[in-house]
Point group: C2
Chain length 346, copies 2
């Protein structure tokens, strides 16, 4: 069956043959008129575009995908959009991919268990690459991603394997900075509020924090570590748990801003304590709510626009390398954004 014949069997679609007939040009001229880099005279292109507009014709990428094996679609695997940080990152990524002439085939995944079938579905559309911000660090996930044999770019991930590149925020470095700031503010009883155990970015923040406290001469062996799950409620509940255990911190570094907001509210509402007067609080992500006046939260900005730009570079290199698997890592500095919660004044 010829390409032509196949196009005609498609429902609703006006074909390039129709446009060629009306414009009085060859079918190849129609195809060149819609290819950004193809050679075609301005006059012929104009005739084609006019004919296309009159017929409501829109170029069909499907035959080209079939012939080249490249779809110009990138599978974007997401989860946890309730965190404004991920929503903003997705928006920026969608814009950057589109500017590079790539489309986003979006897949929502709850956990590592549903990732496999999600990837199968994406692959049946012959996606060129995968980009994901899922905080899944297991070896089986790395294996599943490597087996796709297409470029994979992960954000804030410790996944390692052929085909897998990562763009990470300098999580460890930010932890160091947080500890030094607490030391400067005279904190003597710091607490670390961790995100989910499987989240390796959170772990790196906590390790950096310990490292920095040790440097500042604080007794890290006594450091209280709280377990949160990245939600506001888990931050709120963690504070109540602390007080039940009779621990009275004067500084809390939270692995993300959502939990830090919960911490601030619990301190004020349940303990009658104010931040920063009684407790110095820091978060991570610099979500919009960190700047809301009820929180005025010191945080770390991951510079998602830079992280997305690095991811686009990695994608470009990996797609250019064709069948050769690349594995690169970029680290982007996280910027300390000081606000009232660490007593920097207004």
């Amino acid at each position: 069956m010829s390409l032509d014949k196949q196009e005609k069997t498609a429902v609703r679609a006006v074909t390039s043959t129709d446009v060629a007939r009306i414009a009085g040009v060859s079918q190849s001229a129609v195809s060149r008129a819609f290819s950004p880099d193809a050679s075609i005279s301005a006059r012929t292109k104009q005739k084609v575009l006019a004919a296309a507009a009159s017929l409501g014709y829109r170029p069909n990428r499907i035959p080209a995908i079939m012939l080249s094996g490249r779809s110009y679609m990138v599978g974007v695997v997401i989860g946890g959009l309730e965190n404004p940080f991920y929503a903003t990152a997705l928006e920026r990524l969608a814009i950057a991919l589109r500017e590079s002439g790539l489309q986003v085939l979006l897949m929502h995944v709850d956990d590592a268990l549903t990732l496999d079938s999600a990837l199968d579905q994406l692959l049946s559309y012959r996606i060129d690459a995968v980009v994901t911000s899922l905080a899944i660090g297991s070896k089986s996930v790395a294996r599943a991603l490597s087996q796709l044999r297409i470029p994979v770019v992960c954000f804030n991930s410790s996944l390692v394997g052929p085909w897998i590149s990562t763009v990470n925020s300098d999580n460890h470095g930010a932890g160091l900075v947080a500890a030094r700031l607490m030391a400067r503010r005279g904190v003597t009883c710091p607490v670390w509020l961790a995100g989910p155990v499987r989240n390796t970015a959170s772990r790196a923040r906590g390790e950096g924090f310990c490292h920095g406290l040790r440097e500042a001469g604080m007794p890290v062996a006594d450091l209280t570590r709280l377990q949160g799950d990245d939600t506001y409620d888990s931050g709120y509940d963690a504070v109540i748990g602390l007080w039940k255990r009779n621990i009275r911190p004067d500084g809390i570094f939270s692995s993300n801003d959502m939990m830090a907001c919960g911490v601030i509210d619990a301190l004020r509402e349940r303990m009658g304590l104010l931040c920063p007067r009684d407790v110095v609080i820091m978060g991570y992500d610099n979500i919009p709510q960190a700047a809301w006046r009820s929180y005025d939260l010191t945080s770390f900005d991951q510079h998602t626009e830079q992280m997305v730009a690095r991811a686009m570079q990695l994608l470009d290199e990996a797609l250019g390398a064709k069948d050769t698997p690349l594995s690169r890592t970029h680290v982007v500095d996280a910027q300390l954004i000081e606000r009232g919660s660490t007593a920097c004044g207004d």
Copy 2:
């Protein structure tokens, strides 16, 4: 060129012919093994799946898209993910589409101007339908969408045209309920804080609010109408503007929760006023932050899960109607969620 030959030219992909050879079955059996509803013996299917797994074969949807003109991809056009409401709605929609065997081809659009080129790109992938939550109500957008000649489902939109169906929150009805609650709380100087002018859902909320105030015997002619842009900052600034004009409201209904949070913070921080003691505040969307203890904001829940379910129904009907354009509207009740900001107690 045969389908077979084309498949072989695709980069990296193992073909169904390879699987058929290893499994010792026909190519058609391989195809049936990967079609959910196809007739095939359990034994044959097992042989095919084992061979496919050993080769790393994944079915290729592209030839089927070319032949049938159906891609099982839905173009989802989004904007404004900084509002947690839209982020949650997108997540729910992505899950629902996937459960229906449809994929999300995501397109981020800043405004009506970029919508046209976005739609062209989506159409070149032969998407089956479009779903959008863009608050764009212009006639030119309605025309552009109708001309696609594929089903379009809009959320909270006043767009009208062939092929266009809408799922709306009962915005007018919620406005009525807000006015009645203010009347019960003894509000005598209410203020309406509107979203962007082009946002027809916001307009309907404001009209319902006026309607309800009139019913309650309040002088609607004097109603102060503030113009916001759906952001926290615009709510914060609106309050400062009010005080400059020497208007002292005792009730503010905000077209969304983000602005209402800004209102609460400005009242407390700049005017030293507390909510609900001095001013009763209501929002719309019931975003997670409405429940955060610093805001404790009474709001309207749009029940996105119901709205998404209705959208899926409309999509199903419209896709079933093939080339016949459907135009339907579903309205979903918005539920009042009373919290502290309207003095309902804890």
